[in-house]
Symmetry: D2
Subunit: 416 residues, 4 copies
């Protein structure tokens, strides 16, 4: 069974209110309603499984045109519970689904979102991600699971003409034919069931830039990546990380010596050789992950940058660095590490095969291109994350609000 | 005596090699040779004074069309030593020179460059700065004084048609008349003396973004700034800082309580109330100044951002933040500070009058606008700093090279 | 009116249980019941004033032999509310009380305890301090105000022969005469009213070491201290700080250059010249105060040590130091600061007169001498702080428990 | 071949000058000249091997009564080069030498000294260590190799009656018989060849405290240690570390959860559960090793303390702790780590078998006992490190001098 491909990609538009701090959020517009929705969830967790089934049933009932896709192990687990056919997402033989996901939705924590992003680690274009947290909100997850009906509808309708009369399951639907006449109706928005919405509101999207990563042998040849970051056809191309790439000595008794080079040949310049437990290159999104544990600053996801953070450096004076996102950075395993393997991990997943002396990890911030007229510009690149709307958070910078609740940032000590 | 105004502003062009890390440097092009050059130097320093006189004589002799401008106290000091008329730069009565400086050149350290930038703290457009260090290079100063002849010539000729035959002082000049015929000659490039240069090379410019700063009373009215950051006509407009604005408790026995708000009304959101010795809002350029002492990360000057760094916070969990440059940030003196004054300093210059409870400092990264066709885009805003060329540094990112020499960044400890 | 002097000083005995982590706490034993109790409280605070009056009345009623002493301003304020005579503690003319305080009790926060300690900043022997917090417990304050009856009784009876029959206010007291015969009874324990206590339990005492501080002119002569740290007769001797001595540039635009010398002449050795906003020498008790804000480690009050912590140093590699408490340390204002004054503060109180170039602050951890046979050793020096007993904290290291509640120490970030 | 046992242990006396900062150094006194000297050196290093041979020949020639002991691999390597018999030090079958080493001398860096200390990791009494560095001095190594003749003589003669006439190899020795009469001569000092020394000077010793470490199963039973820290007879006793014990997640993708308990049962109190890459318990000596890389303060080796330092904690507020050396600390692998193994390393040597959930590492600072009359007190415990004498360092605190040269401590940044 094959899902229908989406006729045209979504667009992201910069039509935010320039007077607010959210003016760098983008506006999501579907050319037609999303068809193929990938559900990614934390596994081996009862409450998450129950929530997933409830969520999936709601989506299929309310938006019958939607095809629901799951990862193989989850699909096998929950298929018996669902009264409708589902699809499996997989690499290897099932790669055809890969390009056909219109929307990804996650249930779990930041780890689940990282995993979902890793499913698109080999592609430059990532579908929007709508993420739900079952417990406390993480840095990446935007929505509470209780909000799933409103959240999914808002995303589904994003870009639909206003007003869109929806099929109500409570009352007869007489107006289908009329609506079918519009271009959008042909795409199926009118088939959505539920109460009519007022003025439609486009979902707001935070475009999280990724890190582009290549691994090279000591003779300068590209090396293949390992699953889940491997390309289907064993191509040796760059992959993309949402948080960071880590070099670490792992269980080695000696410190890693990692030479940092800035720029591309022939204009490469050696910054320094870090002698440390490890070394991180992170995105701003990753600034609140491992980099923070290692002393890095907190960088807003919209600061176009690339963070270099040493892990336990044998230096009193190594301070974390923030470089322009478009800076090519090479992390080379120094010759002094000869005979040993330095571990390399992407977004927390360790590569089975470590790096030997002379090998390099080359990183640069993902290029996010724009095209089109002002106000209608489209974006390519990045992970489009649906930002939570409504309530007091509306119109605000969700990131600012998250700092205090997530980090207990600025908690005073001593007598108050 | 009045200097002639420059017919048209300089332009900065993004024509760098995209393959190098220097592709974010801009290229300086004068419509005609710069006329009015402001010399800013460290005062009360014998060697600097001697160097200044040598430098000034060289410029006037080699580029006779140039008018040399000095700050009043320096002008009075060195005028007797110079066999040609000079001009005085001054605020107050002599403000007419303010808009007529084509190029600023400094002798001294980072403090001198900060001071030179402060002379343009009230204007959106700052002339290029060519800075020389007498001793060790600082973070901001690019050139060694020994290089002054080459450096000045490179800047002076930047944008001139190639080849430009220069007047040699060593041999007769026969070709003047012919060259005068060209458009550029009318602007005077042909009057420069010296050996003919080969293909002219445009100076490369690092555009350092500034911080836009306003001070507001507890009732929300703008308050005037104090010299050297005051506007000539006591207008209460924003001023611009190259490094940072600092709020500090100074000699107060109690900690400052400073509320940080993000965004502009009505979408302002409280980030937190910092309880600390002080609080810094810095540019990336300022990331290697006070912010670094206080634990901030090192941020490359081309990362469009704004740094918030607490100074000795009474919190174990307050970590420095890096926000997008266009984020409006308000630092409000909390009511708990009632009856006390919090000191405010801009680029190291303390305001005589402190801030009382309820008053606010509002900052945002300076807007740097572009205009014109690709490849010929012009910039408005920022401090155009002439980057050192030649030698091994050529084509490289000077900033990377400076890290190790300036910071002893990554110096290892223990057994080597 | 003069208080009777205590016949003999209290003793502190190391009879703790060696199997517990509290074995370094000492045991308080009065030779007779304490007579003269100094009450120190936060001023200009209604609830504290009410609590103070309640507390004072209880002490006088229950322990009629006790003389209550207050600081002058407090004495004048609350005298009308008390139906019994009180005494005033004062420096200057009233210095006779200074040596006669048997016990100090404080109401307020850490600031109040610091102030109480400063009243004994010129003496080597400090009476025990029983401190109550009105709100959240600070690092120094041990008891909640609700516990004042039990706490005071425990301290008052500490070292009394067991059992001590107390005068009950509910029943006739027949045994006074008999008890008077014993030495202790002459001191009045039997005059205490209230229920008979079971086996008396000695209060446990944490002896907090202080910092011994001398200020010297550039020619090596001792300089007088300023109130509240001044000696009565303008002697120029060392004073004692409970938390720290701070050198800070204050409102100076330039960084302080402070040379750190280790050891006493002629074996002094220069450690380094710190270029910084300021410099701290702290006790372990002070490690959770200003030093913590400035990046210092948290040091348990029983680690015999002296902390050197720079404040915003212009160095990437200056790390806080922990030296043996008996290390003589000299902080000398470097000649480069000529013409400027560096501020000096002791326990948060700034000296009006700053330090000029060449002047020195000499510090060393207070010497705590022991004398007597094992198990009956007496202590001289330090601030004997009565540790909270009872409940779950009993037998525990109160300091360990305080870390998490006071610091939100180790609060995790991100997804839980 | 068996070395003769030393008749009596050395003593360490606190007879330093109380006016200097070195008054906490001890004075080494042999009851007779040291007989059995263990040579430990860096292996697989040509220059070190050459130096070792030169050093060994000098010692045997000048002090013929000395027996030279080497580790097996070194012994086999250099035996052919030496014209005299040597002894092998070994665990397992050759354990008899273990108790008979009077003096250890090392050639190499800090790693070699750590290794030498590990040879005594199972014994409470460690012979003095005289360490030479071949290159830059480390934190632990005191002497430059060029000084080996003077250094060895000073140690050898330490405690000998003064003056001791030495056998000169350059002139006939007539006075042997006379000297033999003294008690010390019977011990053999007079057999040393070389020039007569003036007043003999005792070597000064820095007694470095170690960390006492036990590993326990989840049911509270002691577990055996692994070589090189294993006891000869597979006893399960505590071992001693000079620097630190490290718990680390190693190659695990998940963070380690380590619960820190303070005190011994039944008075144990939970400090916190650290969620981190790892966790360190260090001696002050170890404060300039891994703990420093992880953000710990620099603690002088004479501060009797125990450092707790998290490695990359997932908390913004976890600050390194310094506790009294006698604080029992338990590091328990939290149940959440079930199914995984946390790596444990002692002084940089990783245990092959990791720790599972519920297992504990229990540490406490080594107890250093004193006995005897004042001025003649003896020490038991610690690693007696011979401090470099002579030159400008004499009478100084060598540690202070080492800070700047080893750490580039306090190197300023920016314009000077």
């Amino acid at each position: 069974m094959v899902c229908a491909a989406l006729p045209a990609p979504f667009s992201l538009n910069a039509d935010g209110d320039p007077e607010t701090s959210s003016h760098d959020l983008l506006s999501l517009r579907w050319p037609g309603p999303p068809r193929n929705v990938l559900f990614v969830s934390k596994e081996d967790n009862g409450p998450v499984r129950d929530a997933l089934i409830e969520y999936a049933k709601h989506v299929k009932t309310t938006y019958p045109a939607v095809s629901l896709i799951f990862e193989p192990s989850v699909a096998q687990d929950i298929e018996p519970e669902l009264p409708f056919p589902i699809y499996m997402y997989g690499r290897g033989g099932n790669t055809e689904y890969c390009d056909k996901v219109d929307l990804t939705t996650t249930l779990g924590g930041d780890g689940t979102i990282l995993h979902a992003a890793s499913l698109f680690a080999t592609t430059k274009s990532v579908p929007p991600i709508l993420s739900f947290s079952m417990g406390t909100l993480g840095f990446l997850g935007e929505w509470k699971f209780e909000e799933y009906k409103r959240a999914f509808r808002e995303v589904y309708m994003s870009g639909a003409p206003s007003p869109v009369p929806l099929k109500s399951t409570d009352e007869p639907q007489y107006r289908d034919d009329v609506v079918q006449a519009s271009r959008n109706d042909q795409s199926g928005w009118s088939s959505a069931r539920g109460k009519s919405m007022g003025s439609s509101r486009n979902s707001r999207v935070l475009l999280r830039n990724r890190l582009r990563i290549g691994i090279f042998s000591s003779t300068g040849e590209r090396m293949p990546h390992e699953p889940p970051f491997a390309h289907h056809d064993h191509r040796c191309e760059d992959i993309f990380a949402l948080n960071e790439v880590l070099l670490h000595r792992g269980a080695l008794p000696h410190l890693a010596h990692i030479t940092i080079l800035i720029g591309s040949p022939p204009h490469q310049k050696t910054l320094t050789t870090a002698i440390a437990d490890g070394f991180l290159a992170s995105t701003p999104t990753g600034s609140t992950a491992y980099s923070l544990s290692s002393g890095g600053s907190i960088v807003h996801p919209l600061v176009s940058s690339l963070l270099l953070t040493p892990i336990c450096p044998r230096s009193l004076s190594f301070r974390p660095l923030v470089l322009p996102a478009n800076t090519p950075v090479t992390l080379r395993i120094d010759e002094i590490n000869r005979g040993k393997e330095i571990e390399v991990s992407v977004d927390g997943v360790r590569r089975r095969e470590g790096l030997k002396a002379g090998m390099e990890v080359r990183v640069v911030g993902e290029e996010v291109r724009t095209a089109g007229a002002p106000g209608e510009r489209e974006w390519v690149g990045g992970v489009p994350s649906i930002v939570r709307s409504g309530g007091t958070a509306d119109g605000d910078d969700h990131w600012v609000g998250g700092l205090n609740s997530l980090l207990k940032f600025n908690y005073p000590f001593g007598e108050s």
